[in-house]
């Protein structure tokens, strides 16, 4: 996927001016946070579970080679095949080779963010294979040729009218008098179309929420059931998973399942939680004849051992973006690549380079809400700050900001001179605001005064006033 992250500021301008996007964001904003709060309140041990989740992930990351090898051996034992891929290119090639070997014409897909990272749909299409997204949100995005704007609710940015419009434009057999009054009407229409595709597909591609080392299983968590049809109906099932998805045991999976849905949608459990272990055995009633896992690194091992390692704990629940005031102001597409919101602001620079994604970790007020809801306690603001440090070291930060900071720091390290400078500034600003207590525009503070007045100082600095009071014996 081509990153537009370098154009973050332009993306934001567009997003703020997009009335339909703003409407969708305002509509969904209260619901996620409210549902999570209720779900968490109903589970007294939720806080402890977060610690347990964090610790399991830390343990895995410290022993990643061991757990991946154990998992891989168990996949092979259950009749599956693991394809180890270092890069996105390797992964695309592996998927294509499996599809071509299976003689695939149509491939159904469950929702998977890593598949967006690989831009696998484009790759398959280029080679004459039709990929069909079967998650309702992803399906409409495929019709509209748009990327997801949210990691669990991909069509977060669309209103009901947008759905109707896309269906009418793409489903040419639709009678004109068909009504799309409710969500159910949309579902019915999508279901009808997708059923044909499910039955026609030669290969099904899903992601994985977890890979379980002790059994070699992959786990998907969905609400629509499309993932199950994707992975059981076709002859071949391909799982796309990045390396940090592995966890040790089934018991651990239970811990994460208790955290995941509550953090994501405020459900106790998602509607479907499905474990896949290997290919179909002779006595099985259904299941694919071939079970492949394309295991993807694509830059993640580069994070291990660095200050960004903690980001690899992420279970992609989306709680951080669901609670992010910046995300709800600019929408997911503004972030310009696969992963939006706070988790994207940390992960994207690691995967596509901080030179391209440098805006993302800067576009945060460090309000800390994301960290406070993250089920595996990733210190997202701290990690964003680490990116800013990298940018500062590499002189990627804007020169203007850098020199302002240097001037300020020079004074701040010299209290005497600092007092003189602030004394002057306080008087000058106060004089500018005389009679009003504020100014409406100020050339060197244009960023501030574009959207708000600048309240002006009282006039005398604290230290000047304090010294005066001391001299006058008033203290």
């Amino acid at each position: 996927m081509l990153a537009t992250s370098p154009a973050f500021k332009q993306n934001v301008k567009g997003a703020l001016a997009d009335a339909s996007l703003q409407k969708a964001l305002a509509f969904t904003r209260p619901s996620f946070a409210g549902k999570r709060t209720a779900a968490v309140a109903a589970l007294p041990e939720f806080e402890q579970l977060r610690d347990v989740g964090r610790d399991i992930k830390n343990h895995v990351l410290a022993n990643l080679d061991f757990y991946l090898e154990t998992w891989s051996a168990n996949v092979e034992k259950s009749g599956g095949i693991v394809h180890w891929c270092s890069t996105a290119d390797d992964a695309r090639a592996a998927v294509l080779a499996i599809c071509q070997k299976a003689g695939a014409k149509t491939v159904t897909k469950g929702k998977s963010m890593i598949s967006e990272e690989l831009a696998i749909n484009d790759h398959l299409e280029k080679h004459g294979i039709e990929p069909v997204e079967t998650d309702l949100g992803e399906y409409i995005l495929q019709l509209r040729k748009e990327p997801p704007s949210h990691i669990i609710a991909p069509a977060f940015h669309l209103n009901r009218e947008d759905w109707e419009e896309s269906f009418r434009a793409s489903h040419t057999d639709l009678p004109e008098d068909r009504v799309f009054g409710e969500r159910r009407d949309i579902l019915t229409e999508a279901r009808k179309k997708l059923r044909e595709k499910f039955l026609a597909a030669d290969v099904g591609i899903t992601g994985a929420n977890f890979l379980i080392a002790e059994t070699g299983s992959s786990v998907i968590v969905t609400n629509e059931g499309n993932g199950d049809l994707t992975q059981t109906l076709p002859r071949v099932h391909i799982v796309l998973a990045s390396i940090e998805k592995v966890i040790p045991t089934l018991e651990d999976a239970c811990t994460f399942l208790r955290l995941l849905a509550r953090s994501a949608t405020g459900q106790d459990m998602s509607v479907y939680t499905t474990f896949s272990t290997g290919a179909r055995r002779p006595a099985d009633l259904d299941g694919p004849e071939e079970y492949h896992v394309v295991l993807i690194d694509n830059g993640r091992t580069g994070m291990i051992g660095t200050e960004f390692q903690e980001m690899l704990r992420c279970i992609r629940c989306a709680a951080c973006m669901n609670h992010c005031p910046v995300y709800f102001t600019v929408g997911g597409h503004s972030y310009g690549w696969v992963y939006p919101g706070p988790m994207g602001s940390v992960l994207t620079p690691a995967l596509i380079g901080v030179d391209k994604a440098g805006h993302l970790p800067n576009a945060s007020t460090f309000c800390g809400k994301c960290e406070s809801v993250c089920p595996v306690k990733i210190p997202l603001p701290k990690l964003m700050r680490h990116w800013r440090e990298r940018e500062f070291e590499r002189h990627l930060a804007p020169q203007g900001m850098r020199s302002n900071l240097a001037i300020w720091a020079w004074f701040a390290k010299r209290p005497q001179l600092y007092r003189m400078a602030t004394g002057l500034a306080a008087r000058l600003l106060s004089w500018l605001g005389r009679g009003k207590g504020r100014v409406a525009s100020l050339p060197f503070a244009a960023g501030w005064t574009a959207g708000r007045d600048l309240p002006t100082p009282e006039g005398e600095t604290f230290f000047a006033r304090y010294a005066r009071a001391q001299r006058e014996g008033k203290l």
């Binding site: 960023g447 501030w448 708000r452 304090y466």
Partner: protein, 262 residues
């Protein structure tokens, strides 16, 4: 027979960390802090060598400058019982981030750890350490209180300001929806991304106005300047003040933020 009263313990020596914004912009907040601390029985001193906690550098990724400024604060503030700041953000910087700046310098790290254990935000210090429950202030009006992010999430400041405000005679508190949502200030964020920041603060002022309160209070001057600036731009008559001014009964000393003495 009644027990003899324990000897009065020495008055705690508190060093006021004024914060650079209060110093430059609103000294009254510093004097309000001094009054509140003295009323609570503290001996207050203001170390002269202080400037800024270093947060602008720290959040800009300039660790070296942040470390230098932190080091001078370690020097200026050694030897006190407590360090108190009328800002959750600056108090949080000292109490949650300073020691991490000295990862490679065990000696300084130890000093930073000692300092951070003694550093408090003003309201939290008054309620949680000195354990005052009331203030003798009067304020006629209906106020709404914004929870600034660092104070709330780093320092756990939530019930304390409300408890003290409840003791101010004449003051009624009316909560806004989402008082915990960031106002969009974020230090240099507000000038680096003014479009986003303006939208965020507009959401905030909408929620503030919806309460019908005539006064907006918070504990961090950065957020207050941001919200006051937006309210004034919108032509709102809502008065904006630092919570310390109200608790110290000093609202006659200075007009609300962004307003002239009238």
């Amino acid at each position: 027979m009644s027990q003899p009263a324990p000897p009065p313990s020495r008055r705690p020596r508190v060093a006021l960390f004024v914060t650079c914004l209060v110093d430059l912009h609103r000294p009254t907040v510093g004097f309000a802090a001094i009054r509140l601390l003295e009323q609570a029985g503290c001996q207050v001193e203001v170390p002269r060598a202080q400037t800024c906690c270093g947060q602008p550098a720290y959040n800009a990724g300039d660790r070296a400058t942040a470390r230098d400024l932190a080091a001078s604060i370690l020097d200026a503030f050694s030897g006190y019982d407590y360090i108190v700041a009328p800002s959750g953000s600056c108090a949080g910087m000292i109490s949650h981030h300073f020691s991490g700046l000295f990862d490679n310098d065990p000696q300084q790290r130890t000093r930073a750890e000692a300092l951070q254990a003694k550093t408090f935000e003003l309201i939290a210090f008054l309620t949680d350490v000195i354990k005052i429950t009331t203030v003798p202030a009067v304020y006629q009006g209906t106020a709404t209180y914004h929870d600034s992010c660092s104070g709330l999430r780093e320092l756990g400041l939530k019930s304390q300001p409300r408890a003290l405000l409840a003791s101010v005679s004449g003051l009624a508190l009316k909560e806004m929806v989402e008082p915990e949502t960031c106002c969009g200030f974020g230090g240099t964020f507000c000038v680096k991304y003014p479009d986003i920041s303006t939208r965020m603060v507009s959401d905030k002022t909408r929620d503030i106005a919806a309460t019908g309160a005539d006064t907006l209070l918070a504990g961090d001057l950065g957020c207050l300047l941001n919200m006051a600036g937006r309210l004034k731009r919108e032509g709102s008559p809502i008065k904006v003040r630092h919570i310390a001014e109200v608790l110290a009964g000093m609202t006659n000393d200075t007009p609300p933020i962004g307003e002239a003495r009238g």
